[in-house]
Symmetry: D2
Subunit: 147 residues, 4 copies
């Protein structure tokens, strides 16, 4: 992931609110959609991870809203891997309106890895070495990657 | 349930859309919230049922939208038990604006009962006799109740 | 629209519920997404209609749930125009899992056309003749089309 | 608001995801519900503000997820006013499970005030002095309050 992975989507009507703009909570959902897409494309399917007993819950989110998104806008979400150490993962996001190139929001999410059975954190290096290697590659130009 | 059970709630901002009214999909969610509330109050906790390995998925929904609901409106949802035969359950709903008494929508939902482990339908009379008796009581003034 | 218009999407994680399947309310949202897509592709942009002062609220929905959809499934939604008379519009939907071709749900939605300013119903033939002609074409193999 | 305002709600089924916990995006919606409730109770109705042509969009959110919330849990949300200067407003949130008193999440949101007509920021002191005075009172034990 030296260059950001981009996820593209069109704003759905049900995502608007009575201010006539996208409700702010939907950006948090878009981040998830974009993140899962980016991981799938990189070879780390969340579906498969869950089938193998690993969950990837969100431990933190933040979002700065700069300009409103509107119904029918095509939105581009850039995913920028920030940190992965085998136990925790952090990603940054830039959310843009495709037509104008305007930056609508910047965001960040944090994640850990849990064993579905025990509910306890797992170290990916031992628990899921194949996924661990792919994630290390995705985050190779970022700070930490061991664990 | 000879008299309808009433669930009361206030329209949330995030439920509006850019027409300035509640998005129609949220009525389907309100029906669920009202139904689970009514069942809990009647002694049939969905949480407990799920802990005992029974799921109650929705098999059908329909809703007629008569007047729009708005942000901050207090909404009353009347639950009218329609049919329960130990294998399937059907409920009717009347959704009203409390302040004016206007009828905003009428709706119906259908449900079955599944064993969480097998995913197969269960007959409540054998699988969960205590819940079955309560449900029979709730639906006592309606058509079918055996199964 | 002699042949159905197909909308394709992938189930998002946030659309699942604790039964491990897609929450039934999301099918109502998918129907909207598919309907708006089909109309846009046919030349009737909801965004443009709203900019010209016409709203297209939902007056009824119904959905029969046959099989559950799961996270990451690719879903195909077939839109089948059912009725359009210049004042009201009705569409049918078939929701399928792409990989297996299984029919997951069948559904229907009803709509009217309102003047944004007055909130009153409008006849499309006079109010928006260009859109009216396109809609007549879309619904040409169905029952009513005047109004 | 020297003591925090508390909003109480029960987790809805549709808010869960297939990890069997509340989807993280819903906390952002709960914050809105709690915030609007707290403001209404304090004498600042968002409905009235919007009717008077003032919108209160979200400019930033953040949330740290400490423990998962589950279906049917009763949730208490403490609203802690953080900053209000007549132009911007910031609130903190503590989200707890009522039964156990466990802290599930801490969060923050930032807001500005816009004129609905122009879309431009407004200073509340001139544009809506009555609301401004109430907000000053609510935030009286916090840092800034002029503007």
């Amino acid at each position: 992931m030296s260059s950001p992975i981009i996820f593209r989507m069109r704003v759905r009507y049900y995502e608007t609110d009575q201010m006539g703009i996208v409700h702010h909570s939907n950006y948090i959902r878009w981040m998830e959609e974009a993140r899962i897409h980016a991981m799938r494309n990189g070879g780390v399917s969340l579906r498969t991870m869950e089938e193998e007993g690993i969950q990837v819950p969100v431990t933190s989110v933040s979002c700065e809203y700069l300009r409103p998104a509107h119904f029918d806008d095509v939105i581009c979400i850039e995913i920028l891997p920030r940190r992965y150490n085998g136990v925790r993962m952090e990603l940054d996001y830039r959310i843009l309106r495709e037509e104008t190139g305007e930056l609508l929001a910047t965001a960040r999410s944090g994640h850990c890895f849990l064993d579905t059975g025990t509910g306890h954190p797992v170290g990916m290096k031992r628990r899921a070495p194949a996924f661990h290697r792919i994630l290390c590659g995705m985050f190779s130009n970022t700070e930490g990657k061991d664990g």
